[in-house]
Amino acid sequence: MEDCEKTLSTLSRLARLELQPEDCEAIESIREFFSTLSEAKRLVEGKQPLYHVWETESHLRIQEAYHQVNIKDLMVEVEEGFVKFPWRGKQ
């Protein structure tokens, strides 16, 4: 369980998410479920990863793509044309 809490805090930091201790059980069981894949290791010896199912080549773009977007149409705070986000806060 202590192990899980450590994992939880690492994942929480990397994913920028608050995870609850009660997620531990689910996360542990999913992790265990994923680990069953190690049985398949011997079957895929020498096999390369498959990231794009057809192993085709990408198109290349020559013409224009999409229309422009007016930033004000998005749900953002705009200041003199810039999109404004909180950064360091009050210090």
Binding site: I30, K47, T56, S58
Partner: protein, 475 residues
């Protein structure tokens, strides 16, 4: 039961009449079923239906003139909000249309609304929507299947004629199985993903859903095609509707996956076997085969899907997509706060696990291994489908009751046992109903070689003849 395709062919389809009837059903059932997240304005839709009727009268109808279509809410529409079933996007209206939406509009379809779904398409029952679960019109205590839950349910109660879903690991086919509708997961690359809010890009496709095989084919014809603005889009052979006809059973070779059958419920196996035996009796060559990689497909699929999901969902950081409501003093706090508040529990879990399988020290053990097993799965499926239609029940069980599967993630993932294989292998897969029982409908899944959509539709037409389940609906 006449299909939409037939009605369009014979000129019997009257958009105004169809719309008014559908609107009446929506008014009556939508509150209970909850198939839609957004429904367009009655008056606007009525005007569109009238225009379509006019066009038909003037003899210039387009392929889907006035046909009522529901679009899953993870497919971008510039005039309707597109939420992907998440609170995170509850204020988001895209500034552009998805490729498939452009195709629908060009074909004269009327988009009635945006359908409910599991948040970011992560779910197999439709219960993980931030806008409340969708109920199964065949049995309101049961789930309609997910994640294209609303599209399946809307078809089942005839709120629309056709619907678009998206299928990452069964998200079109499970709702099809549970709502007795037809759905296709196309060959990877056949339908542009441009404008589809991604869950797992390398696995998913937008696909057609309908109440008959021919209507599914009709919608597939409209939405499929090469898109230069999707780098994974491929020029396929296309499909000619006139050429489709029930397959000749004596020329049909079927391969039934033993492992899926063994893992399925009795009633499901019984319904499935009845259909297979009839096919065999009519001369089909039926083989019971073992899919060596079947036992690995679920972890392989979920590892890849969650890794891609964690990456895709990183952009929801409380900057552009939080309705401006949650404000925190610092950027990092705002990220954490917004993501923790506006993502649902299952989405958070999948992001966390996706980050886990990609993180240093685990990437090779989990993510890279899964992509290597994926190669094995693909190659095995490609080998089998070279001369065989792979058949199995679409879901190992009949529609679960609401709440039955939400607490244990593994029992939820188990519902995808038969469906994820097609996504891992990139091949097309068709779901169609084979039984409606007191426990809910049962569906069959057919998988073919890449670009074997025509074979699937023809086999589907044959099975439709055997079961008589064409154009069925609930309520």
């Amino acid at each position: 039961m006449t299909t939409i395709y037939q009605q369009l062919q014979t000129g019997d389809y009257d958009p105004v009449e169809a719309f008014e009837k559908a609107w009446e059903r929506i008014t009556r059932h939508e509150k209970t079923v909850n198939a839609f997240i957004t429904i367009d304005d009655y008056n606007k839709l009525r005007v569109k239906a009238e225009e379509a009727s006019k066009r038909i009268r003037s003899g210039e109808p387009r392929l889907l003139e006035g046909v009522l279509v529901a679009v899953k809410d993870n497919i971008s529409t510039s005039w309707l909000p597109t939420t992907a079933g998440s609170r995170m996007l509850s204020c988001y209206q895209p500034p552009y249309n998805a490729y498939v939406v452009e195709r629908l509009l060009e074909a004269g379809a009327i988009i009635v609304g945006k359908t409910n779904m599991d948040e970011f398409a992560m779910g197999s029952t439709g219960e993980f929507s931030a806008f409340g679960p969708t109920r199964n019109p065949w049995d309101l205590e049961r789930v309609p299947g997910g994640s294209s839950s609303g599209s399946g349910a809307a078809l089942a109660y005839r709120a629309v004629d056709l619907a678009l879903g998206s299928d990452t690991g069964g998200s079109i086919r499970l709702p099809g199985a549970y709502t007795a509708t037809v759905g296709l997961k196309p060959t990877y690359g056949a339908v542009s993903r441009r404008g589809l809010i991604p869950y797992a890009n390398s696995l998913e496709q937008i696909g057609p859903m309908a109440r008959s095989v021919i209507d599914t084919a009709l919608l597939y014809k409209v939405i499929s095609g090469y898109d230069p603005l999707d780098a994974t889009s491929i020029k396929g052979p296309g499909i000619e509707l006139e050429r489709l006809q029930p397959a000749d059973p004596s020329k049909l070779k079927i391969c039934v996956i033993k492992e899926v059958l063994e893992a399925s419920q009795k009633q499901v196996v019984a319904a499935f076997t009845r259909v297979i035996e009839k096919l065999e009796a009519n001369g089909a060559d039926v083989n019971y085969v073992s899919l060596k990689s079947q036992r690995y497909v679920l972890p392989t699929y979920y590892i890849i899907a969650m890794a891609e999901a964690a990456s895709n969902l990183a952009r929801y950081d409380g900057g552009i997509y939080n309705c401006g409501s949650l404000k925190m003093p610092t950027w990092e706090e705002q990220n954490i706060r917004v993501r923790s508040m506006l993502f649902g529990r299952e989405v958070k879990r999948r992001i966390a696990m996706g980050v886990f399988v990609l993180s240093e020290g685990y990437r090779d053990e989990y993510y890279v291994l899964a992509t290597r097993v994926r190669r094995m799965v693909r190659d095995e499926v490609l080998g089998l489908t070279r001369d065989c239609i792979i058949a199995s029940p679409t879901s190992p069980v009949q529609p679960p009751r609401l709440g039955e599967r939400i607490s244990d993630p593994l029992s939820l993932y188990a519902l995808d046992l038969a469906t994820v294989t097609a996504n891992l292998a990139g091949v097309p897969a068709l779901q169609l109903p084979i039984a409606t029982t007191s426990e809910g409908p049962v569906g069959i899944q057919l998988m073919a070689r890449p670009w074997g959509e025509e074979d699937l539709f023809n086999t589907g037409l044959l099975i439709e003849e055997i079961t008589g389940l064409r154009g069925v609906y609930a309520l």
